[in-house]
């Protein structure tokens, strides 16, 4: 068996019990593979990466990774991540959250993280479980408006595209968001009679369009469809850099006063 291990395995914690905790067909594991491939492509050092999560199925991810990992309280991943990043801006901070963790209880923190544009890669795995009963909002539009410099949406079906989006998000200086639509065959799928994992994956395949295609569709045609791709990508000052500049100016001023 050792001869057959793919390179992904070197990013996993050998001491942790596998197979992982998620249900058969759950998309979270696909996101995990995507993150590994992005980190590998970027050549990041495991010691520099801090993977933070809140509470929920997606938030069970960090423990499986051989990085610095932090599994916090429901909704608070980005608040912890902000402390980590500001205390040591040299660390590469990635937050993985579910839709409830990021957008319900964590809604306030993700809005302010976007507002600050602090360099944290925020991956939201959206399986709709938290929004099941009520109408949702457009995550990407909201976070774009809040100030996130990179906003993208992918699905676990379109995994090659997802690999690219996550990599771009990680490279981006500033608060980057990737919303990943994912199947939950056990809860959302079963409750809404969407079939098993395979049916739900087909649903992602058939029910989504990329941004270029979406631009050609009318609002009626777009209704109920997932729009994939990079939805916002711009430059703006990053928080820890702004803060470092503030420190420099404060020190200069203080030394002036001394003199």
């Amino acid at each position: 068996m050792p001869a057959q291990l793919p390179y992904e395995y070197k990013y996993l914690r050998a001491k942790k019990k596998f197979p992982h905790v998620w249900c058969p067909g759950c998309g979270i594991g696909i996101v995990m593979g995507s993150i590994i491939r992005a980190v590998d492509a970027l050549g990041w050092n495991k010691n520099d990466i801090v993977l933070v999560s809140g509470i929920g199925c997606t938030s069970r991810m960090p423990v499986y990774f051989d990085f610095n990992t932090l599994h916090t309280m429901h909704g608070r991943a980005l608040a912890f991540a902000t402390g980590v990043k500001l205390a040591n801006p040299g660390l590469k901070v990635i937050a993985v959250m579910g839709d409830g963790d990021a957008l319900a209880i964590g809604g306030n923190h993700i809005i302010h993280s976007a507002r600050r544009n602090i360099e944290i890669t925020s991956i939201i795995v959206n399986n709709y479980n938290y929004g099941m009963i009520e109408p949702g909002f457009d995550t990407c539009r909201l976070l774009d408006a809040a100030g996130a410099v990179f906003v993208a949406r992918g699905t676990v079906y379109h995994v090659i595209e997802l690999d690219g989006l996550i990599r771009q998000a990680m490279e981006k200086k500033g608060l980057s968001v990737v919303e990943v639509m994912s199947p939950c065959p056990t809860n959302y799928g079963r409750a809404n009679r969407l079939g098993g994992a395979v049916e739900m994956m087909k649903g992602l395949r058939d029910g989504s369009v990329n941004a270029a295609q979406a631009a050609k569709l009318s609002p009626e045609e777009l209704k109920g469809r997932i729009v994939r791709g990079v939805l916002a990508d711009r430059e703006a000052p990053e928080y820890t850099e702004l803060y470092a500049d503030l420190c420099r100016r404060a020190r200069e001023k203080a030394s002036e006063v001394d003199e």
Binding site: K16, H71, A79, F80, G83, V84, L86, H109, L246
Partner: protein, 380 residues
């Protein structure tokens, strides 16, 4: 703003907390303004950038305590400051810090509650909350200053204890101590000990983030140092991985408790004045201690001898000292700016023969020496 080492200054209580933090090497503050604690944040907002430390105003208190813990895990000496309503919001975070064994200092400058209460006025209503505010069985270290100089000293001690015991430490002040001004002669730099968390020496592959040791405190690595460990609020094993195995759960929770209960001699601090020879003792803490000392003087002028017993460490409560020193007294007077919180500990620890008399005030004003004197006169 720098620490005026060895100098004498007129200083505000909250300002002294900020200075104590700086003296202790604080390099991270995340908080949200709230009366009557805001001065701590304001002063550190100015000082930290000058010293290459990080200051951030987070969107709320929950985010503040979370950011503080994230920073501590990344190696910072981190703190936050708040009052009642913010303290309530931080409870879940405090529990996380206890479970995950993350050092940080949390300052609560108490104001009158409950709820929004009297934002600019004094009370001592958070004493029980400081011990049991967060759910589950958890240790608590809570220090209570009664003077401006102690705001400085106990902040230094709070940081040292948090790093030594790998746990959050609460500095429980009150609006009077926080806002009063006193003349303080600061210690010299070399007189202030700064204790850092124990660092691991094991090879990285063998590192256990929660390794049992004789002191019950495991050396603590930092994110980015080469040790890659997992931190979670789920009950976990020595590696930090979630577990439901009964032996592992028991080991973790027992060690969390023993961290404190087996080292009381290092934690518990009291002050006593003339307790041994008095049959009537006033038990007071925080700003009320100052009134108690004044009451003692007034009573002496009336030829009435009383002792004063003050816990500096509110939690762990000085059980042994209370029992030893107060169990043979006729009367223990307990003035508190609440409807009776620490009084229950005294009642628990003293036999029925000791008469425990409450003197309580919750209208937002300081307990005066005269009120304490009058309670004493009734029994003497």
């Amino acid at each position: 703003m720098r620490v005026p080492w060895g100098e004498t200054r007129l200083v505000q209580g909250n300002e002294a907390i900020a200075l104590g933090a700086l003296a202790s090497g604080v390099n991270f503050f995340a908080g949200y303004p709230i009366t009557p604690s805001t001065e701590v944040a304001e002063m550190l907002a100015r000082s930290l950038p000058q010293g290459d430390g990080a200051f951030i105003q987070m969107e709320d208190e929950i985010a503040s305590v979370s950011a503080v813990m994230g920073a501590s895990l990344a190696g910072a000496r981190a703190m936050t400051a708040t009052s009642g309503p913010g303290f309530s919001l931080m409870q879940e975070g405090i529990g996380f810090g206890c479970m995950a064994e993350i050092p940080f200092v949390l300052v609560d400058v108490m104001r009158a509650g409950p709820s929004t209460g009297l934002p600019t006025q004094v009370a001592q209503g958070d004493v029980m909350q400081a011990r049991w505010g967060t759910h589950g069985d958890h240790p608590a270290i809570v220090l209570c200053p009664a003077s401006v100089r102690e705001c400085f000293d106990l902040t230094v001690r709070a940081f040292n204890l948090s790093e030594t015991f790998r746990t959050p430490v609460i500095l429980l002040s009150d609006e009077v101590v926080g806002h009063m001004r006193e003349r303080v002669t600061f210690p010299k730099c070399e007189e202030v000990a700064v204790i850092e968390r124990p660092v691991p020496e094991t090879p990285t592959e063998w590192y256990e983030h929660y390794h049992p040791t004789p002191s019950n405190v495991s050396p603590m690595a930092t994110y980015g140092s080469g040790y890659r460990f997992h931190v979670t609020g789920l009950t976990h094993d020595r590696q930090g991985f979630p577990t439901r195995r009964r032996d592992e759960v028991d080991e973790k929770l027992a060690r969390l408790k023993a961290k404190i209960t087996r080292r009381l001699d290092e934690l518990v601090e009291i002050r006593t004045h003339d307790v041994e020879k008095s049959s009537v003792v006033i038990f007071a803490y925080g700003s009320v201690y100052r009134s108690a000392l004044a009451a003692q003087v007034q009573l002496a002028k009336k030829n009435k001898r009383v002792g004063v017993f003050r816990p500096v460490t509110l939690w762990p409560f000085p059980d042994m000292e209370t029992k030893e020193l107060l169990d043979d007294k006729d009367v223990v007077i307990v003035p508190e700016l609440n409807q009776g919180q620490l009084i229950h500990e005294i009642e628990r620890l003293t036999s029925d023969s000791v008469r425990v008399i409450p003197v309580q005030r919750v209208d937002g004003y300081e307990l005066t020496p005269e009120e304490i004197v009058s309670a004493a006169m009734e029994v003497m």
